[in-house]
């Protein structure tokens, strides 16, 4: 009851006070223009399909590469030490670089080597840049999941006669991946937003389309439209991640 009351008070204050600001009318015309919104929203929705498509083909590749890198970092045989080093170097480099920089360098740089069409497409190299960066984050998350499985489980598996590979596959990974599912979910929500960065190297996805409308109409409303479309996807996804986390905590108790 008190919570509802204070919420209503805060909302009322915002709704009443903000329009009293002297610049409100100008801001409203430039950011919340109904006419511009109606004219541009269908085009934005259409452009968003490209974001979804890029996300859909990047996500599985990221999961796979992230898992491989995580496994690289966990190899224990001395002969395979170079793999371990590669894993560490990889995560250090790609977690340390801004996504947009990798997209620029890979998206313009690699095709500049003289690849023929269609192999120089910005879709291919831009997606690869996203995959490289996000795989580094996913790898770290999975590695922390692997580390969270107690050494005694590996010993138990070994005493049952399981090989090291089988131990990883049937004992460690299933628990590890489940433990870090909420953290990975958060990464994929971030990925959904970062897909928009591909627009810098050419593809006309929602962010770029909004920019075109903004430029043609000298009005920022299309950005607000794009923001709403993003929220429509990311809020439910975030809630779902929270739910997973909650469920996991209950299970562990």
């Amino acid at each position: 009851m008190i919570a509802a009351g204070s919420t209503i008070a805060v909302v009322l204050a915002i709704v009443v006070l903000v329009p009293l600001a002297p610049g409100w009318e100008a801001v409203q015309r430039s950011f919340f223009n109904g006419e511009v919104f109606a004219a541009t929203f269908p085009g934005l929705l259409n452009a968003f399909m490209l974001d979804v498509a890029i996300f859909l083909w990047c996500a599985p590749a990221i999961a796979l590469l992230g898992l491989l890198i995580a496994l690289c970092r966990d190899v224990r045989s001395p002969a395979l030490f170079p793999l371990r080093m590669f894993g560490a170097l990889y995560t250090d480099i790609f977690r340390g670089l801004p996504v947009i920089l990798v997209i620029y360098l890979v998206g313009f740089g690699v095709p500049g080597l003289g690849l023929p069409r269609p192999w120089n497409s910005p879709y291919i190299w831009g997606s690869l840049a996203l995959i490289l960066v996000y795989a580094a984050y996913v790898a770290e998350v999975i590695r922390s999941g692997i580390d969270s499985i107690h050494q005694s489980q590996r010993s138990a598996a070994a005493s049952l006669g399981l090989s090291e590979g089988d131990t990883m596959r049937f004992v460690v990974l299933p628990q590890a991946v489940r433990n870090v599912a909420p953290a990975n979910m958060n990464l994929f929500i971030a990925l959904q937003k970062d897909v928009a960065l591909l627009s810098f190297i050419g593809p006309v996805e929602i962010f770029r389309q909004a920019g075109v409308y903004k430029s043609l109409m000298a009005n920022f409303t299309p950005y607000v439209g794009a923001a709403l479309i993003f929220l429509a996807i990311t809020i439910p996804a975030t809630r779902y991640a929270d739910y997973l986390l909650h469920k996991q905590r209950r299970r562990q108790r």
Partner: protein, 274 residues
């Protein structure tokens, strides 16, 4: 006789003085800072509009036009200061940090609902920038041939709707944040051709793009809405009438055409697209 000449000279001087006064009065109390005209340009400002990214030198077409307009309005060259803004800063609501903004803004009715434009100071042809390799592969200055190319453009320009309206490419064009990215994509072979205003296209083909060439142009009189550049001002800026008066004087006296001939290469020799 001598008396007559002196009287004439005095009269003449008084008249000029009055004229200058009239202009000065027009702009009085209407600028951001009294007695100073603040002009905005891009960051960086591109050739051939501004040379060496130094508008203070008055070199380059837009820099020269800016000082000519300032002089018409009664501002000495040292009473002009320059600031830099992006496109988004120029259109954001709220007070501006410039009296007018000059960076090849095309005048469109949609933009005019949000900001004010002066009378046009330049009407641009649109030109097709491409590379020798694409021409060798068979690209021709005909609409049929152009439709089959993979197009690029600067997303912040009116080249985007023109591309759709005039050329109507078969595949969706790629759009970029600025000239530099468009030429990078062209160099990487990701696009065949890009649409720019003619002076920019001439510069990019000659200096920036390796093996760059101009395939052809759409002269301004060919399109229904020719690309006209105007000075951008905050909506309702009272200075607009003074600026417009200055531009009208410069246009009628032929001074604007002189500046254009001095700084912008002629379009002759660039084939017209059929």
């Amino acid at each position: 006789m001598r008396l007559l000449a002196t009287t004439g000279a005095v009269l003449c001087m008084t008249a000029t003085g009055a004229l200058a006064d009239a202009h000065g009065q027009c702009a009085a109390d209407k600028t951001l800072e009294d007695g100073v005209l603040t002009i905005a340009t891009g960051n960086p400002a591109f050739y051939p509009w501004v040379l060496n990214d130094a508008p203070e030198s008055g070199q380059g077409f837009e820099a020269a036009v800016a000082y000519a307009i300032a002089a018409e309005m009664g501002f000495e060259a040292d009473a002009v200061t320059w600031v830099r803004t992006s496109f988004d800063e120029a259109i954001q609501p709220g007070p501006k940090n410039f009296d007018f903004n000059m960076q090849q803004y095309s005048i469109t009715p949609e933009r005019e609902q949000m900001v004010d434009f002066s009378l046009p100071y330049y009407t641009s042809a649109m030109a097709v920038l491409t590379t020798e390799a694409v021409v060798e592969a068979g690209a021709e200055p005909t609409l049929d041939s152009l439709r089959g190319l993979l197009w690029g453009a600067d997303a912040n320009t009116t080249a985007v709707p023109m591309l759709t309206e005039i050329v109507g490419p078969e595949r969706n064009p790629m759009l970029y944040g600025d000239n530099v990215d468009v030429t990078a994509a062209m160099q990487a072979g990701q696009i065949d051709a890009a649409l720019f205003d003619l002076p920019t296209a001439l510069y990019l083909s000659a200096v920036v793009v390796e093996g760059g060439t101009i395939l052809g142009q759409f002269p301004p009189d060919r399109s229904e809405n020719p690309d006209q550049f105007g000075l951008l001002m905050e909506e309702g800026n009272p200075l607009r009438d003074c600026v417009n008066a200055a531009i009208t004087t410069l246009t009628e006296s032929g001074r604007l055409a002189e500046i254009e001939a001095e700084w912008l290469q002629g379009a002759t020799g660039v084939p017209v697209i059929q």
